[in-house]
């Protein structure tokens, strides 16, 4: 290769990388993702200074649900593994933390978190083996019905186990009275301090998930989403990818569960069951599966509506919840999957701002009288 050609290839390669579509199918670039995240993070950090505490408790819930939903999106949105039983991991995390504190007297938050991560991973690893035997190209029916039913079964089974082994799990009423989190120094956390703990953990987890999803592995998941058959033909062991992504999603779901346990100070069997899984996929679909922080946006919307309804129409909440599901599904223009959900809307808004603001700025400068011009 001549020197000139080599140089231009390197130049082109250098230009290609930031130029090429770095984000997911929606086309967000890393810079824009980072921009939105920074702004939101700053808002969340400063919020408790300005608002009454019940609002910051809502925001804590938003963050926890956002983590829960984003973990589901790893498999639902990216790898195309729709699961109706993600609450199995959420409940596993919550119950592990609660049992550790209440039944075993281990008050360290970090230890509880660690054990919950291990437990969630173990449950995911065990359940994943049979689950993927009935799903996927070459495994069984490409029709995911049996897999969906299996995921429902997982959640329901765990919830029934929780109801049955009363001495450990508190039976059908669960365990309550989980004390405030203890992070190792000082006294137990106040609500506001817990808010910041959730924030820090949330940011770390989201960052980790983002990195995983933007890596070679993450793009392999997207490939599997689009065309598993071709992925196998290209040399990918697709079962391994699906299995490991299932475990990863389970771990982050379990972390959300731990946080929720401390948030609500109690755990109940329905945290394993369909009732909670319903929330997880509503958040994912509402917020959009095609953008990384879509589920987070869905979470904001959901918690907001849940709060308003709990004040004015509490008895009708299941109806409204069901209505949200129906609207979220039917409002997806299925031919334009990329724009599904609220997340892409937010992104479009952000990009529009990103273009409109500099334009306004430049216009101001251009309109200022320029000393160099003759006129």
């Amino acid at each position: 290769m001549s020197d000139e050609r080599k140089r231009s290839t390197v130049e082109t390669a250098a230009v290609a990388a930031p130029d090429a579509v770095a984000g997911r199918r929606f086309g967000a670039t890393t810079m824009q993702d980072a921009g939105v995240v920074t702004v939101v993070a700053i808002i969340v950090l400063l919020l408790p200074l300005f608002i009454p505490s019940f609002v910051s408790s809502l925001v804590t819930k938003i963050m926890i649900y956002g983590l829960f939903a984003t973990s589901l999106n790893i498999i639902w949105g990216y790898a195309n593994i729709p699961s109706f039983g993600h609450a199995a991991f959420f409940g596993a995390g919550a119950y592990t933390a609660a049992i550790l504190v209440i039944k075993l007297g281990i008050t360290s938050f970090w230890l509880g978190l660690l054990v919950a991560i291990v437990v969630s991973a173990a449950i995911a690893a065990i359940l994943g083996i049979p689950a993927f035997r009935v799903f996927g190209v070459g495994a069984g029916a490409v029709n995911p019905i049996y897999f969906l039913l299996a995921t429902i079964a997982f959640g329901e089974l765990l919830s029934r186990v929780a109801i049955t082994i009363r001495p450990v799990t508190g039976g059908s009423t669960g365990l309550s009275g989980v004390p405030k989190a203890h992070i190792g120094f000082g006294s137990a956390l106040s609500e506001k301090q817990f808010y910041y703990l959730v924030f820090v953990l949330g940011v770390i987890c989201l960052f980790l998930m983002y990195r995983i999803l933007s890596s070679h592995y993450g793009y392999a998941l997207r490939g599997i989403h689009d065309n598993e058959k071709r992925m196998q033909a290209l040399g990918y062991n697709t079962w391994l990818y699906k299995y490991t992504s299932w475990i990863i999603a389970g771990v982050f779901g379990g972390i959300a569960g731990v946080l929720f346990c401390y948030f609500g100070s109690s755990v109940i069997p329905s945290q394993f069951a369909m009732a909670t899984s319903d929330i997880s996929f509503l958040l994912v679909i509402l917020g959009g599966t095609t953008v990384f922080f879509g589920p987070l946006v869905g979470s904001i919307f959901y918690v907001g509506i849940e709060y308003v309804v709990s004040i004015y129409l509490p008895a009708r909440w299941p109806l409204i919840f069901g209505g949200l599901i129906v609207i979220a599904i039917m409002a997806t223009p299925l031919s334009r999957q990329r724009y599904q959900g609220l997340g892409p809307g937010v992104l479009l808004l952000w990009r529009w701002l990103g273009r409109a603001v500099p334009r306004l700025w430049r216009r101001e400068i251009a309109e200022a009288p320029s000393p160099k011009r003759g006129v």
Partner: protein, 286 residues
């Protein structure tokens, strides 16, 4: 031992109720490939509508007919507004029907209130047949009778009629069936409505045994799923077998070892799903 016979009748009648319920689901799932997770809620709707009709006009059979028609209408609305647009998108169908089931459950709660209602078995079917020292409730015998009748009809339709042949052909190869000039869309819609009506009938007939309470939709949906998976789809015999297995297991379990009865059926469900996903007598899906 003799008590076991009574429990056996209870199990059998329960099995037939499950069969009536699951048959509807099996038809829509097996024939159309549609995942309708609102099925339990629809059963509940049927039960409550039936309850209302009985409370108003004291006519049991009128209640059955009204429930069947009402559910067929609701089912058609479900198909027309939603399911038609989600052709082949199974997870979306599942999510949507979960949403619908929540709506229906809450509407029922809204209209009829949170108290459970016990529906008395209709006059003429109360009491029991006494054989020796055992009493076999007449209503349960009636349920078994109706169940056998419906089973026979559906089995006949599946194996001996043209419609049944069309359905079986369509399950194998939809495109081919359509290209033979058969209006498979019409057939599958009719089958769907039949499944809905069946759920309504099951709701009314089953209510004196299963009761009518606001959260019954969820329980019954889960039971339906278990029955259909264990028995297998595509053959009505499979659904009957699944219903028998689960009905008997559940009833005997509750009678003799109540503590584990709760998740016995679930273990069976998972085992079948993972070891023999096509079910005991199902069409080979795998």
């Amino acid at each position: 031992m003799s008590q076991a016979l009574v429990t056996g009748l209870n199990g059998l009648s329960y099995a037939f109720i499950l069969f009536l319920l699951a048959a509807g689901f099996s038809l829509t799932f097996g024939v159309m490939g549609v995942l309708n997770l609102a099925h339990g809620a629809l059963y509940m709707l049927g039960a409550y509508i039936g309850l209302q009709v009985i409370a108003s006009v004291h006519q049991f059979w009128a209640a059955v007919v009204v429930a069947a028609i009402a559910l067929a209408i609701v089912g058609y609305a479900l198909y027309w507004f939603f399911l038609k647009k989600l052709y082949n998108k199974v997870p979306q169908q599942g999510v949507l029907t979960i949403g619908v089931s929540l709506i229906i459950a809450n509407v029922v709660l809204w209209i009829w209130g949170p108290i459970s209602h016990t529906m008395m078995s209709p006059r003429g079917l109360t009491g029991a047949v006494h054989v020796g020292s055992l009493g076999f409730p007449i209503y349960r015998l009636f349920v078994v009778g109706i169940g056998v009748l419906v089973l026979a009809l559906l089995w006949y339709m599946q194996d001996r009629t043209r419609v049944g042949a069309i359905i079986r052909a369509g399950m194998d190869n939809r495109d081919m069936t359509v290209s033979l000039g058969i209006n498979y869309g019409l057939v599958s819609t009719c089958v769907f409505l039949l499944g809905m009506a069946l759920a309504g009938v099951a709701g009314v007939i089953g209510a004196p045994i299963t009761g009518a309470y606001p959260s019954m939709g969820d329980n019954l949906l889960l039971l339906t799923l278990i029955v259909v998976v264990v028995g297998g789809t595509g053959y009505i015999q499979g659904t009957m077998l699944g219903a028998l297995v689960i009905g008997m297991l559940d009833t005997f379990g509750k009678a003799y070892i109540p503590s584990v009865a709760l998740f016995f059926s679930w273990i069976v469900f998972l085992a079948v799903l993972l070891l023999r996903p096509s079910g005991l007598i199902g069409r080979k899906v795998f």
